[in-house]
Subunit: 286 residues, 2 copies
Amino acid sequence: MNGFINYRKVLIVGLGMIGGSYAQKLSSLGFEVGALTRRQQTLDYALERGYIAHGQTEVMQAYVSQFDLVVFALYPHIFVDWIRRYQDYLKPGAVLTDVTGVKRSVVPAVQEMLRSDLEFVPAHPMAGRERSGVEYADSRLFADANFIVTPTERNTPEGIELIRTLGCILGFRHIAVLSLEEHDEMIGFLSQLTHCIAVTLMTCKESEHLAEYTGDSFRDLTRIARINEHMWTELFLDNKDELLAQMDLFLDQFTRLRDALSGGDTETMKEMMRLSTARRAAFDKK
Amino acid sequence: MNGFINYRKVLIVGLGMIGGSYAQKLSSLGFEVGALTRRQQTLDYALERGYIAHGQTEVMQAYVSQFDLVVFALYPHIFVDWIRRYQDYLKPGAVLTDVTGVKRSVVPAVQEMLRSDLEFVPAHPMAGRERSGVEYADSRLFADANFIVTPTERNTPEGIELIRTLGCILGFRHIAVLSLEEHDEMIGFLSQLTHCIAVTLMTCKESEHLAEYTGDSFRDLTRIARINEHMWTELFLDNKDELLAQMDLFLDQFTRLRDALSGGDTETMKEMMRLSTARRAAFDKK
């Protein structure tokens, strides 16, 4: 394995919002970016805007085998299926990475079946938005976002360094390295739990007539309530044990606050508010 | 009662963030603004910046009796106490208003004891921030906020119109009129419940080390987790029945999503996400 400069030809598998943003940025940096995606219309859109140099809607060995670096921007189960069916097409020595939002359910499955001359270095660009589709691709989203590499003992130092560098040249603000378990706990708490809360708030009651009365707080808490139900259901189920643990932790604390209010226990209420205030203040300093 | 132009002298009782913002804006519009507040330092700050023309730290009849319009920007129980102790000092025919975030526990108590020659028109400027104190006064906050007048059958059309006009000249984006009950249900759901959620999220676990990994969602959901524990505990208790009802509604729905995840009931999960997405999309159009 050599430095990044030798990975000149990059294949993006799945041209959605994230795959499209990778393509856009890498093309602008001079890489030769190809794409595999199901719909010709998506390819046309990306070709017209110069996000990709070329692309295919069918997976063919002659096309796939030319790429040094392959980025999988697919739903978790489609990614695992793709590897099972098509890994024989990949160029010897190619490096694979992904953008999947859950890791324990995907990474071991892929790494265990992977050809020994290929390396898969998992990563999670934490730059989701409420929209999906290549027409929402915008690599400027990366400037405020974190890029998390989640290597395992099957990865080489060179492979990890290559994908760290990928995060860097894509323009992410912060690059971190976490284990699969650390990643899934963190994402269960920070991202999946917060999406569960936002969805729950919107399902509580018909709120359209309330829109005119809101201060910022309800808007803030429900911004992420526009959600792709297929992708998020799959991500939740793939991280079920960890997300359930985070939801139960939240339920315990929320019920504690509720019961303190119900019983007029002002000291518990104030204690929770003081802890919340102190932690959020520390958070703001970061 | 005459038009707004006859209410030239305005007294602000309580120079905190909201009271200070009222004073700042009304002075800039040419009103003669006085203030009552406990600390001389607060008065000095407001005098130096021209938020007020004069002020007192003690409640004296000779000072209080000169004002046509009196704005109470106090904690709920302090406001009720103030009326009980000092309403005899007020000028005959004066109009009173407030900024209190709960209404059923305050408005009847004040209106029932009030002198018959005074009128109290309750209002709630929904422009809170995570900070308190006159040094955070900034009337520009009103430009994106809602002003809610909550009159009762004891109010006159002229009094209601006067306080609507006050909201208007203060620069609020939207002026609405709600009953006390409608206000407290709405605020229980949109504001108090969301603050309970934010506080709960921050108390779930030590999250300082997680700050570097967050996408926007956790930051959005906990922005309001910096909270004045004395004021919010009082506001929660003053709206206890309604807030408990909103918290229980949230708990039911959150538990429904949790149980669907636990049981692998993807149809319920997707149905909640679709409803959430549709409602939030309608909300965004407002």
